[in-house]
């Protein structure tokens, strides 16, 4: 299951081919079903033999539903964390992508009957097998999971109870690779993912104890209860006649939990989550704000510290690069120009991935340090261009005057050219600082939970972006407005008096 490792090209190819297929199948009624092909097997993934198709158990469930409804299935690619709002908007008829049942989903969307039961389990390194058997034994340790999942809610409760640190990932591959590398001490996710994590990373082991039980469901727009009821009938029929079992057996996911689940569903029992549901009864908006605001403020502080430190690094390295490009030898100038062009010509996101995951076998940087270095080195390239042009904008007459007074080149830079260039650079620097403050949201991909990431977790958990989005915007403004004001004051102080 490779949410990010799998190339985005595949997704684009998929999207394009489905567009074409969609046009051809227009004459028939479609069942548009949403899923995330970046989620990978066994849920939904691009077929390795034919990337224009998707395969996975959710693909087969969708095909089953479409067949029974007399429709043609059409896949709609939607990012995993956007599936809920996308369903609510009506971007597709049903979302199927290993979507977990939760009270919040039930409150906001039309949710199908559960069609698969999974257990949340703990994965640790072999060496820690006897040391970390429960969450209570992980006090003060870093425990990884996927954001906006039952496992995440489970860990947030455990954070308060057992004092462990929750590390959230955007995907379910890197929690396990980072566990193997020693960046985290345990992973909590469902056993489908845990089995794969252990098989792909040597030296990991799954603990036996269940931390909670969850269910995969389909999600529909809140008004689609008629279609939802039709689908529930189809699912129940498929449970009875063994067609669902056949699908899960094909994907090697069938186990003794499923017949029990099907029996309860068919007997009309209501299915409750254990024990993750305990702490996640759908909260009121204000209750949600009260619960999440401290975490948002903490995340805002991380954003601020990260941005200030990264900017300081960017200024320092930017000054060195600019000086090298203005005063250095030709080979040095060529090397520095190359650095600036490479950094400016490639996405920051890619640089962060390379720094954190790509170099992990060579140097194992802590996430915050990798984020700091990644942002700092990236912005250093932009800063250096500002300083270089500012240095070159200082009039030649000023430099001639310094030279004829006997200043060395270094003194001229420090006493005359540098201070004058700084004054010219200050306005664009302020701009860059505010931009960096916002770009710092990208570091969430390497597990640093800063403001935007915390907001998206918040939004996923309450199923709405309105309040979290407004709070997040207010916090960003609260950070950037004083910065802009401070910069204006410094700028004013440096103007000729």
């Amino acid at each position: 299951m490779l949410r990010f490792q799998r190339t985005r090209v595949l997704v684009i190819v998929l999207a394009a081919s489905f567009l074409v297929q969609g046009a051809a199948a227009h004459a028939q009624i479609e069942l548009r079903w949403g899923g995330d092909a970046e989620g990978g097997a066994p849920f939904v993934e691009a077929d390795p033999r034919d990337p224009s198709r998707v395969v996975g158990f959710d693909v087969e469930v969708a095909e089953l539903l479409a067949r029974e409804l007399g429709r043609v299935p059409r896949f709609v690619q939607v990012g995993f964390t956007s599936l809920d709002p996308s369903a609510a908007r009506g971007d597709f008829d049903i979302g199927l992508s290993g979507i977990e049942d939760s009270p919040v989903r039930r409150a906001r969307l039309a949710v199908t009957t559960p069609y698969y039961e999974f257990r949340e389990i703990l994965t640790v390194r072999q060496a820690d097998r006897d040391r970390f058997r429960t969450l209570a034994e992980l006090r003060g340790r870093r425990v990884a999971t996927l954001g906006a999942t039952l496992a995440y809610d489970l860990l947030v409760s455990a954070q308060a109870e057992h004092g462990l640190a929750v590390v959230t990932y955007e995907d379910d591959v890197h929690p396990y690779s980072d566990l193997a590398l020693g960046r985290v001490d345990a992973v909590v996710l469902d056993y489908v993912l845990a089995e794969r994590g252990v098989s792909r990373n040597a030296g990991l082991v799954n603990q036996d104890a269940d931390l909670g039980v969850g269910y995969y469901v389909g999600v529909l727009a809140p008004g689609q209860t008629v279609l939802r009821d039709r689908i529930d009938d189809i699912l129940r029929q498929a449970m009875r006649d063994g067609r669902l079992e056949a699908i899960f057996r094909r994907w090697d996911m069938w186990n003794e939990d499923q017949p029990r689940l099907y029996a309860r569903v068919l007997a009309g029992e209501s299915i409750e989550m254990v024990p993750a549901a305990a702490g996640t009864a759908s909260p009121s908006t204000w209750e949600a704000v009260r619960r999440y605001l401290p975490a948002l403020v903490r995340a805002a502080v991380i954003t601020l510290i990260l941005s200030c430190a990264a900017m300081a690094l960017a200024v320092f390295i930017g000054v060195l690069i600019a000086s090298g490009r203005v005063y250095g030898s030709r080979p040095l100038q060529a090397v520095l120009t190359g650095y600036v062009e490479v950094i400016r010509g490639t996405p920051l996101l890619l640089q962060l991935f390379v720094l954190y995951f790509g170099l992990a076998s060579v140097v194992r940087l802590p996430a915050f340090v990798a984020a700091l270095i990644g942002l700092g080195l990236n912005y250093a390239a932009y800063e250096s261009e500002i300083y270089r042009s500012a240095l070159q904008a200082v009039p030649q007459g000023q430099l001639d005057a310094a030279r004829t007074l006997g200043f060395t080149d270094r003194q001229t830079l420090a006493l005359v050219r540098g201070p004058q260039a700084f004054r010219l650079a200050l306005a664009p620097m302020t701009n860059d600082f505010v931009a960096l403050l916002k770009d710092s949201s990208l570091v969430s991909v390497i597990t640093v939970v800063e403001l935007t990431k915390q907001t998206s977790i918040f939004a996923a958990n309450i199923g709405s972006w309105v309040v979290p989005g407004a709070l997040c915007a207010a916090l960003y403004l609260a950070l950037s407005l004083p910065l802009a004001r401070l910069a204006r004051r410094i700028e004013k102080g440096w103007q000729p008096r």
């Binding site: 009039p395 007459g397 000023q398 001639d400 005057a401 310094a402 030279r403 004829t404 007074l405 006997g406 200043f407 060395t408 003194q411 006493l415 005359v416 201070p419 004058q420 004054r423 440096w494 000729p496 008096r497």
Partner: protein, 249 residues
């Protein structure tokens, strides 16, 4: 005894010769005016003497330093040259990010390694001496042309160079200020300093220069006392329409 010896100097811009075969020398306490119309090479000659541009041929000896063709002076040569030669630019080039006092005291502090208090005291003295003591705290953009020029003179004098170069010093001055400047430069020369002024202001040269070197198209065409050179047939031939003193405001 000479303070400056310019010998058969050529200066090129690309392949074009802008100065060719120029020679002259100066003595301590002498006030020399390098004259000529615009484009005759006056400023170019000052810039090579100040070590800002390279010469293509010839030699320049000043303050024990010999400037050779090829490149501008570096390292020790450059440091020694700038101990001996100071320059006041036509547009002054005061450091725009600091006030007049800091402009004057900066080089003594950082180049001559004088204690800050002493450098500041000396800077105030120089500004007072040049009549701009009251403008010590003013930023360059707050100074009039005449004030800025006097601050620039103070800045050049603060490192006490035996040779002071001035490029078109009367360009931004009215008549009264021009007379003040002539007196100031005469006093500086009387103290034993060599003052070399590039100007096309005939009255100013008449008023204060001891000797005139006349340039035309990059060559020395006349040299001697102001009375002789400025009254010569060659000079009148170059400025046929001249009636009375020129006004360069």
């Amino acid at each position: 005894m000479t303070t400056l010896e310019v010998c058969d100097v050529a200066i090129r811009r690309g392949v074009r010769a802008v100065v060719e075969g120029v020679s002259f020398s100066t003595a301590p306490g002498e006030l020399l005016a390098i004259m000529g119309v615009s484009g005759s090479g006056k400023t170019t000659v000052l810039r090579v003497v100040a070590g800002l541009d390279p010469i293509a041929a010839g030699t320049i000896d000043v303050g024990g330093v010999r400037l050779a063709p090829g490149h501008t002076p570096r390292g020790h040569t450059r440091r020694d040259l700038h101990r001996s030669v100071g320059i006041v630019f036509q547009f002054h080039h005061l450091f725009s990010h600091m006030n007049a006092l800091d402009n004057v005291s900066l080089a003594p502090i950082h180049v001559l390694r004088r204690p800050r208090a002493e450098a500041v005291r000396r800077a105030r003295e120089l500004l007072d001496l040049l009549g701009v003591g009251g403008r010590a705290e003013a930023m360059p953009h707050e100074l009039s042309g005449g004030e800025a020029q006097r601050v620039a003179i103070a800045r050049a004098l603060a490192v006490d160079p035996p040779v002071l170069l001035m490029d078109e010093p009367t360009a931004s001055l009215d008549r009264a200020r021009r007379d003040d400047l002539a007196r100031t430069l005469t006093q500086l020369a009387a103290q034993g300093r060599t003052v070399i002024v590039a100007t096309h202001d005939v009255d100013f040269a008449r008023a204060c220069a001891h000797r005139v070197v006349m340039l035309d198209e990059g060559r020395v065409v006349d040299e001697g006392s102001p009375e002789l050179v400025l009254a010569s047939r060659a000079f009148m031939a170059r400025e046929p329409d001249r009636e009375g003193p020129p006004r360069i405001e």
